[in-house]
Symmetry: C2
C-alpha cells in the first residue's frame, strides 16, 4: 500500500446547523415531508422502483409546468444547470439568439449563449422594469433570431415579465422561446402549453419547496425538432438532452447516476404541490405576498417594483437613506434567525430581497419578519 | 389569473421504497448518520454557518484525496459532471489530449474531450486489462499531448490502473495527468500529491458512502496554471472552475446555489472517513473484497480480472456458460433484496459487477450475497 496516508483530521465537529427562517431568494424552507424523503435509504438508479419514481416525477412535473411535453425531466444539477441545458441544447455555433436583459439572470443567459458560440443580440431595460411586446418585436425585425430567451421571474429584481404576447411574436417569426421560471414554478402561474413556451426551466429550491440540486426542464415540440435535427452534438455532454432523454425515456440507457435522494425529495415536494393544487398554491403565494407588501408599506418602506409587474414570490424593498443594509440583514440573522438577501448587480446596496416561496410562504413568517424589521429599523 | 390550471393529479402514492442491499457499481448504501444529515433543515447557501461547512468539506476532501491543493471542492453534479469539469477546464479547442481506453469510462473521457474541441489521440486495451508505462510513453512520443487522461478504477471492468510511473512520464514531457477516481476515492489509495496527479475527480455515491449528487475534484498547481492562463473562457459555464473557485474561495462570489443538503451529507460522510482513517478504510475494503473473491471461487465462479490488478471495490465475475445473467440478477433483487449489476459495453452479458464500497463493504453483505448466489445458481 506504499506510504501511510497523510494526517487523519481530528477537528471536525458534528454538523451543527442553526434553525433558520429562510426568506431570501432561495433556498426556501423545506417541508418536513420532503426532508424525510431525503433521508430514505437508497435504491439503485436502475432499480425498477426508482424507474417507477422517475416516471411519476415526470408526470407531476408536467402538471407543475402545465404541459403535455414528453421531454419533461429534472436535470441533475441546480437551476443554473437547467438554464445551461436550455442554452446548450438549443444553440449551435453561429445561431442568432436574442436575450432580453433586465436583471442578473438575463445577463447570465447572454453569457452562456456566447460560450456556446451564439451570435448574441441583447435588448436591455433598467433592472426592475419589464419588456413590452413591441420591444421584442422590433429587436426581432432588426435581427431575426433562432432563439429568444427571457426571464419570467427575475430573482435579482422581483419583476414579473408578461409572456403571452411575446410568445406569439416569437412564433410568428419562427423562432423559439426559452423562459426562465426559476423563481415562479409552483408559486405563480407558469402555463407552458397555453402560453406556448418552447423550453422552460426552473430549480427545486424555490417555490417547489425542495432542497437545491435538481433543475426541472420541459422541452416542447418545436424545440424537440431543433434538438433532433442538430448538425453537431451538444457541446455539453452532461447536459446533452439527446442522451439524457434516453435515460429518462423508455430506453433507460445509462448516462449518469441520477441523484437518487434529491429525486425522492422532488417526488414528495411535487406530491405536496399536487395535493394543494396549483390554483390554491398560486393564491397562497399571492395572499402572503400582499400581507408582506402591506406590512412593509406600513413600516414606511418603499417597494422597488410597481404592483402591475411585482412578483409575489420575491419582493425587493428599497433600503432607506442612511441605513446600513448589511447590518440590518446581520441583525435579522443573528437576533431573529431570519434570512433575507441584499441586492445583486445594479441593485447591490440599494434593496433587500425577500422571498416568500414554497413552504416559506406563510402568514406567520410574514409577521415574524415584519415584527423583526420594525424592531431593528425603529428601535431607538 | 387566466384559465384554471390543468387537472390536479390524484394518483401519486406515497414514496414506497424497498430496503435494498446495494452491491452494484453505485450508489452504495448510505450510512445512517449521512441519511440523517440529508434531512437537516436547510440554511441559506451564503449563511455564515454554511460557509463554515464548505470550508470544513474542503479540508476533509483534501484528506480523502491526500493533497494540499487549495482548489479542492465538490462540483454540484454527479461524478460524470466532475469528469466533464476536468475536461472542460483543462482543454481548449485544438489541444492535444491522449486518452487511455480500457473500458466504458475511458471511452467517455475521449467523447467529452472531442466535444470540447480537443485533438484526441487514444490508446486502447481490451476491457479488463491495464496500460503499461511503455505504452503511454510511446503514444506520447508519437504525438506529444497537453493532457493525458486515464481511469484509475474502471467501474465497467473492475481493473485498477497503476499510476505512479505513468505520472512520471507524463510530467517528463510537460503534460498534465487527469485521473478518474470515481470508484476508488475512499476505498483504495488515491494519493494525489505523492503520485503527482494534476486533476483528480470522483463521485460521492461510491466509496464515500453518500448519496449521488456531488462530484469531488482537486486541481494541482500545474493544472491551476493552465486554468488561469486559458486563452478563452471555459466553454461550460456551470462547471467553469475559474468562477466556481471564487464561490468556494475567499471571495464567496455568487455563482449558483450549492446543493445544501447534499453538502451536509458529504460533510458527514467525510467525517466518517476521517474517523475510520484512510488506512483502515482501505484495509477494510481489501479484506471484504478478499472474502468475496474466496467465496466466489468456492462457488466455482471465475473472476474476470487477475489478482495483480483487481480492484477491491468492484469485482467482475464471469457469467457461467448456459446461465441467464439477467435472470440471476432479477432473482437476487426480488428474492433477496440484493442489487448487483450486469456488464457494460464489451462485457455486456459476459460478467456481473459486484461493488463493495463505503458502507456496503461489510462481511455480512458478502456472506448474504454468496449465500444467495449459491442458492440461485445451485438449487435444483
Amino acid at each position: 500500500m506504499g506510504n501511510p496516508a497523510g494526517p487523519q483530521p481530528t477537528s471536525y465537529p458534528a454538523l451543527d446547523i442553526p434553525e433558520r427562517i429562510l426568506l431570501g431568494p432561495g433556498p426556501s424552507m423545506v417541508h418536513p415531508r420532503v426532508l424525510q424523503a431525503m433521508s430514505t435509504p437508497l435504491v439503485g438508479h436502475l432499480d425498477p422502483k426508482f424507474i417507477e419514481i422517475m416516471d411519476r416525477i415526470q408526470g407531476l412535473l408536467r402538471y407543475a409546468f402545465q404541459t403535455g411535453n414528453p421531454l419533461t425531466i429534472p436535470v441533475s444539477g441546480t437551476g443554473s444547470a437547467a438554464m445551461e441545458a436550455a442554452i446548450a441544447n438549443m444553440v449551435e455555433p453561429g445561431d442568432s439568439v436574442l436575450v432580453c436583459i433586465n436583471g442578473y439572470f438575463g445577463l447570465r443567459l447572454a453569457e452562456m449563449a456566447r460560450r456556446y458560440g451564439a451570435d448574441v443580440l441583447t435588448i436591455t431595460r433598467p433592472w426592475g422594469e419589464v419588456f413590452t411586446v413591441a420591444e421584442v418585436q422590433q429587436a426581432m425585425q432588426a435581427h431575426p433570431p433562432k432563439v429568444v430567451a427571457i426571464v419570467q421571474a427575475e430573482t435579482s429584481t422581483g419583476a414579473q415579465q408578461p409572456l403571452d404576447e411575446i410568445a406569439r411574436v416569437v412564433h410568428a417569426r419562427s423562432a423559439i422561446l426559452i423562459v426562465d421560471a426559476v423563481t415562479s414554478l409552483g408559486g405563480v402561474p407558469v402555463r407552458v402549453d397555453e402560453v406556448g413556451i418552447d423550453v422552460c426551466y426552473s430549480g427545486t429550491q424555490k417555490c417547489l419547496g425542495c432542497p437545491p440540486g435538481l433543475g426541472p426542464i420541459t422541452v416542447g415540440p418545436r424545440a424537440e425538432e431543433i434538438l433532433s435535427t442538430r448538425s453537431r452534438p451538444v457541446a455539453n455532454w452532461y447536459l446533452d438532452l439527446t442522451i439524457v432523454q434516453k435515460y429518462w425515456g423508455k430506453e433507460r440507457t445509462y448516462h449518469h447516476t441520477a441523484p437518487i435522494s434529491s429525486n425522492f425529495a422532488l417526488y414528495e415536494g411535487l406530491r405536496i404541490v399536487a395535493e394543494e393544487g396549483l390554483e390554491a398554491r398560486w393564491a397562497r403565494h399571492r395572499r402572503n405576498a400582499e400581507r408582506l407588501w402591506t406590512g412593509l408599506e406600513a413600516l414606511d418602506l418603499t417597494l422597488h417594483i410597481p404592483l402591475s409587474h411585482r412578483l409575489p414570490t420575491l419582493t425587493t424593498v428599497r433600503v432607506p437613506e442612511g441605513v446600513d443594509e448589511a447590518q440590518v440583514r446581520r441583525a435579522l440573522l443573528e437576533d431573529f434567525n431570519i434570512e433575507i438577501a441584499g441586492g445583486l448587480g445594479e441593485l447591490k446596496g440599494k434593496v433587500w430581497r425577500i422571498g416568500l416561496m414554497g413552504h416559506s410562504s406563510t402568514p406567520e413568517n410574514v409577521d415574524l419578519l415584519l415584527n423583526a424589521l420594525d424592531r431593528i429599523l425603529h428601535s431607538p
